[in-house]
Symmetry: C2
Subunit: 331 residues, 2 copies
DNA sequence: TTGTATGCGTTATCAC
DNA sequence: GTGATAACGCATACAA
């Protein structure tokens, strides 16, 4: 900036003022000076340094979206949504993957060190309430989607899923299903597992036993892995009449596997997913699932940017999203 | 740091030295002092400020992976791969989405301003050679996957895809296919389009005309959108006997649509994708495609981190990945 | 073995 | 209308 100023015959202060007219000094830079400075900037290829600016302003103009894993239809939609809103508010979006304990802690550490002004944490598994509070206390605008936590200085979006999960089981029970298989992945403190626990619990209350061989605890993250897991399951002599999957993606992969094995959905095997991703509408039959009826990410972004815009620290807000049983053809 | 020092009865310099012992001073901090400082750090909840550190060291310890769009199996694999390697080298990974002209320029600007020490740019559409050179000149370690560019101060990974694309067309031609449909999306300077141009060109050389109504230029990004586009195509009285898709994901969605329409792949309609994603192995029939036989991202990360590690500016290196026609069942 | 002093590139207050 | 100047939080050469 000093060099730019020198070339334009002004001080670095003037350059700074022209680049982002704040502080005192009013609007009063002569048009002529302004032009000279712009020319000098162009000639020198000058570009302001973000680290220095952030240091001085105590503000990075960045927000961070933390997702366990990219590559799912859901994270895709979320990221695009947050990015649009961030841009509209003059923030850059940074994406971080938090899958696994190490990575989650790493991202947390980065945020503590001032990576961004605000963050949306999606399903953090290992962070405690205190750590989140600490982060928020350090000045990071925080919105957390997670059922485990509650904060006084950050916002939480919760999902009320229990009832919908119970509804799903009762529905299947009422339609005579008794041989139930589960598809999910065990992660360190996995939310998938929690949800399937709800299923399991409800079946037990209805007096239906769960066959251990029908519980697939490690179906893999990728479609082809899930497909193979299910194909294998179908080869055994004892076949399930129902598959409850930990995600819609798993459920869809299961539907393929079933159809490719020459069986019918839902006549031979009913399939139900979790999450309600758009893709579920085009499987044959369309996927029965459990989730938010019309998925939207407006609540998350709304909380984040209202918090960023607020001049005073806001209290912790809580929003609850209601899940429902969405009956389509597959179950 | 000053406060930490005060509490531990030392200067801020000593704290800094303990936190990252470099510079002069050797290793010589007494164990006792060290402990006192660590205790003070813990008690105060002190955490170093990245902006200040980056400003002083002229180094962010971050690398940035720039992908047009997350949510594809490919970007997922790439991101995970880069993240692992980055962690191993002591860097944090930042993900940025560059889809669309605005966003791409925005990310470019962020990098110029010092967002990260290095970056992998995947298929940048709008950046010129000069801009990339300028970025590299500014000190950003740069690896670009793109066929359009070549740099003297950054690395380029190219894909030699022409021959494989031509092979695909000839193969289809030799098997009697003549009514060819195309599936892709027109983007501002899209690579999908380029590839389909190669197809088109080859068909023309073979004397096969392309029906305009078989060219779907806007099938959408999501699986369900593609599925619907194809379903609609199949309803018209004139049906194609071949579908050449701009990506494997499109091809897979097409296979579903065809099967759900009661037609057979490849007997009624042959389908061929581009990219060779793992999921292609589990469609029925498995997907014929064009791409790298065993996808790996080692070349990209290798180039990036060798560049970051190099004490002197490296010349621009070029690596070429060879594409091949991968015959499986769908064509 | 530790402290002093300086500068990294900005921004913002104040004086002129 | 514009220019000095003092932070912002840290790292490091050098003095002690």
């Amino acid at each position: 900036m000093y060099d730019v100023g020198k070339r334009a015959g002004v001080s670095s202060a003037t350059v700074s003022f022209i680049l982002n007219g704040r502080g005192s000094g009013g609007d009063r830079i002569s048009e002529e000076t302004r032009q000279r400075v712009y020319r000098a900037i162009a000639e020198l290829g000058y570009v302001p340094n973000q680290s220095a600016r952030a240091l001085r302003r105590q503000k990075t103009d960045r927000v961070c979206l933390v997702i366990p894993q990219i590559g799912t239809p859901f994270s895709d939609g979320l990221a695009n949504s947050v990015q649009s809103v961030a841009e509209a508010h003059g923030y850059s979006l940074i994406l971080s993957m938090s899958g696994g304990r190490e990575r989650e802690r790493h991202v947390f550490e980065q945020l503590r060190r001032g990576l961004a002004d605000g963050a949306v944490l999606f399903d953090p598994e290992h962070l405690t309430n205190e750590e989140l509070a600490q982060l928020a206390h350090a000045g990071v605008a925080l919105v957390v989607q997670c059922n485990r936590v509650q904060g006084t200085n950050f916002d939480v979006v919760k999902i009320d899923e229990i009832k919908a999960l119970q509804d799903a089981v009762r529905y299947l029970y009422d339609h005579g299903r008794r041989r139930v298989a589960f598809l999910f992945n065990v992660t360190e403190s996995g939310i998938q597992e929690e949800r399937l626990q709800s299923y399991w619990q409800t079946w037990r209350e209805l007096g239906v036993p769960i066959l251990e061989s029908f519980v697939l605890r490690n179906v893999g993250r990728l479609r082809e892995q899930v497909y193979r897991s299910v194909s294998k399951l179908l080869q055994s002599s004892e076949r399930p009449d129902t598959i409850m999957a930990g995600s819609d993606m798993f459920a869809i992969s299961a539907v393929w596997a079933i159809r490719d094995a020459g069986l019918r959905v839902p006549e031979d095997i009913a399939v139900i997913g979790i999450g309600n991703i758009p893709e579920g509408e085009i499987t044959h039959p369309p996927l029965t699932t459990v989730g938010v009826v019309t998925p939207t990410f407006g609540d998350l972004t709304g909380l984040l940017f209202s918090r960023l815009a607020s001049p005073v620290p806001l209290d912790g807000r809580v929003m609850t999203r209601q899940w429902e049983l969405i009956l389509r053809g597959s179950a």
